[in-house]
Amino acid sequence: MDFALAFAQAITKGLLTGMVYGLMALGLSVIFGVMRVVNFAHGEIMVVGMYLAWLGFELAGVSPLVSLPAIALLFFAAGYALQAGLITPFINRPEHQQFLLLLAIAILLVNVCLVLAGPDARGVQSEAMFDSYAIGPLVLDAVRVHAALAAIAIAGLLWAFFTRTRTGKSIRAAADNHMSALVVGLDVRRLYAFTFGVGSACVGAAGALMITIVPVNPFLAAEYTLLAFVIVIVGGLGSMTGALLGGLLIGVSEAVAGLLLQPSLKSMFSFGLLILVLLLRPQGLFGGKAGT
């Protein structure tokens, strides 16, 4: 019975963390879905978000959940500027040039963090860290529950944005068919900047949530970039629901692999899954459209 409980505990923990993973991957997926640009600086942007939330807490005692909207807004603006200023000229360039551009941005972001905050892990320590909710025999960390709920709320907002607002619908139209969007006169450049803004806001918000669960150091960035890739490919590159479900799947699989095997083997499972999905179902487990 002990094992069954530990198992259930691991799954719930994985599901809660997976929601935040999903939100992070959602940002990558939105950007790729619309612009077909792979954001190799995604984990780096995430880590910047984590640092900002940590800074707000250290300097002013603001909880990351409170500073989240401000961080999201700031990341939206920064993402918009980055796209409009740097990335737009690269949209129709070969993939390896886009890769080099985003790699340069990634190196800059992560090392600015390193210079400013140092290599040590920085975490948000508070009383609430140790709160928990009990559901029957299950014990859930309060911070994880809050982070997951916030992630769900943000994903809901995004869904509303993409289905209810004019700009959101235009972005989806541009994602479905670039040419026809041009034909009907959508300002594609502005939409692209907007999209990169939304994607950055997503991952910035995910960063603010993640810092409540995991302490941050600059070297996490590359890991998060890879993790986001794994999730969106498994879920279906360009698919919003796919990113969220992929996040849950990877969150749970990591937690369960950590329980059953050695924790250090947990990402082996993720990469194995990535290889299988790439080969057998490149449109992703939850994606509808073929992904090429």
Binding site: A104, L108, N111, V112, L114, V115, F229, M268, P282, G291
Partner: protein
């Protein structure tokens, strides 16, 4: 057609003179370079060599691999492991290392190309295999696990048979590898296979329609590329005398391999060499500049900025631009 003509056909006398001067300089270099300059030269040649190997995949055949650390890591680990455990020297070990790396390359290639993964999807497959192997090596005790594998350092002994010795030995070893790879690439490019690669890079469907066996050509590209990269790994393991999965198979290692050819000029023969000079030169310059500031990360910031400048202003690479200045352009193709 003679090999000589294949090698130098189409090159202007001016280009040949420059090339001969460069080669003479490289052969004589250890005689007058100090230890620091020699170590920089070694680094440049290493990146030129491994970049040339990667360039076969991406620059020639157009297949973006971001997991080349897999072949370098396998090569290094196998040769070092054979030497460490059984005393088998690297000249024999290299054959085993190359065989294993080629096998790994063929597995990645077979899966990627059979399932027609292209572009980013193929790149992610290569990353996944490299990361998967990294974690496997973390837990493989024969290879030392995450604690690493260390080769004994014998001060002052030069033992060419076991590739043990000082910087000069390693300089000439990597020089021979780099020159060999350059010559090999030139010969490949001037062959039917090379032209087929370029056609595949430009448009695989059109290439196949004019009779190019696309799958087979891609497989040969990844096999040759993996073999050369494995040799770089063997050299690397014996030069540094230590191996850790965290660095040998890291994504950072894979990215490092791609930078010289991208910055120098994809698909060109001199691109990886020029790129290696630019990159290593920049790296050393920024190390000097930031050394006394004692701020970790500052060097990387300069590095990132320099990359940004290059990709924005010289997206086709430094070499095509430089070649025009020198009046020695590679023939348009």
């Amino acid at each position: 057609m003679s090999i000589v003509r294949l090698l130098i056909g189409g090159a202007t006398p001016r280009a040949l003179a420059l090339l001969a001067a460069l080669l003479a300089f490289l052969v004589a270099a250890p005689a007058f370079l100090g230890p620091y300059a020699l170590s920089v030269a070694i680094l440049i040649l290493y990146f030129a060599f491994v970049g040339q190997a990667w360039n076969i995949m991406m620059g020639f055949a157009g297949q973006l691999s971001l997991g080349h650390a897999l072949y370098a890591g396998l090569g290094g680990y196998i040769a070092a492991g054979l030497f460490f455990h059984y005393g088998i020297g690297p000249w024999v070990g290299a054959f085993v290392a190359v065989a294993v790396a080629v096998l790994a390359g063929c597995i990645v290639g077979y899966l990627g190309f059979r399932f027609s993964l292209a572009g980013v999807y193929f790149a992610l497959l290569t990353i996944a295999f490299s990361e998967f192997t990294r974690i496997a090596f973390d837990h493989w005790t024969w290879a030392g696990g995450s604690g690493g594998l260390f080769l004994k350092v014998q001060g002052g002994v030069t033992d060419i048979l076991n590739l043990r010795g000082g910087a000069t030995l390693f300089y000439y070893a990597i020089l021979i590898l780099a020159v060999g790879a350059f010559v090999l690439c030139r010969l490949l490019l001037e062959s039917r296979l090379g032209r087929y690669w370029l056609a595949i890079r430009e448009d695989a469907e059109a290439a196949q329609a004019v009779g190019v066996p696309v799958f087979r050509c891609k497989m040969i590209a990844i096999a040759i590329s993996a073999a050369l990269t494995a040799l770089a790994g063997v050299w690397n393991a014996f030069y540094y005398n230590n191996l850790f999965p965290e660095t040998a198979f890291a994504m950072g290692r894979s990215i490092e391999i791609t930078l010289a050819p991208i910055i120098g000029g994809l698909g060109t023969l001199f691109g990886p060499i020029v790129g290696a000079v630019v990159l290593t030169g920049m790296g050393e310059l920024f190390t000097d500049l930031t050394e006394h500031l004692k701020i970790s990360g500052l060097k990387q910031i300069f590095y990132g900025l320099a990359l940004l400048v290059i990709v924005i202003w010289r997206p086709a690479g430094v070499w095509p631009w430089l070649a025009k200045r020198l009046g020695v352009e590679e023939r348009g193709r």
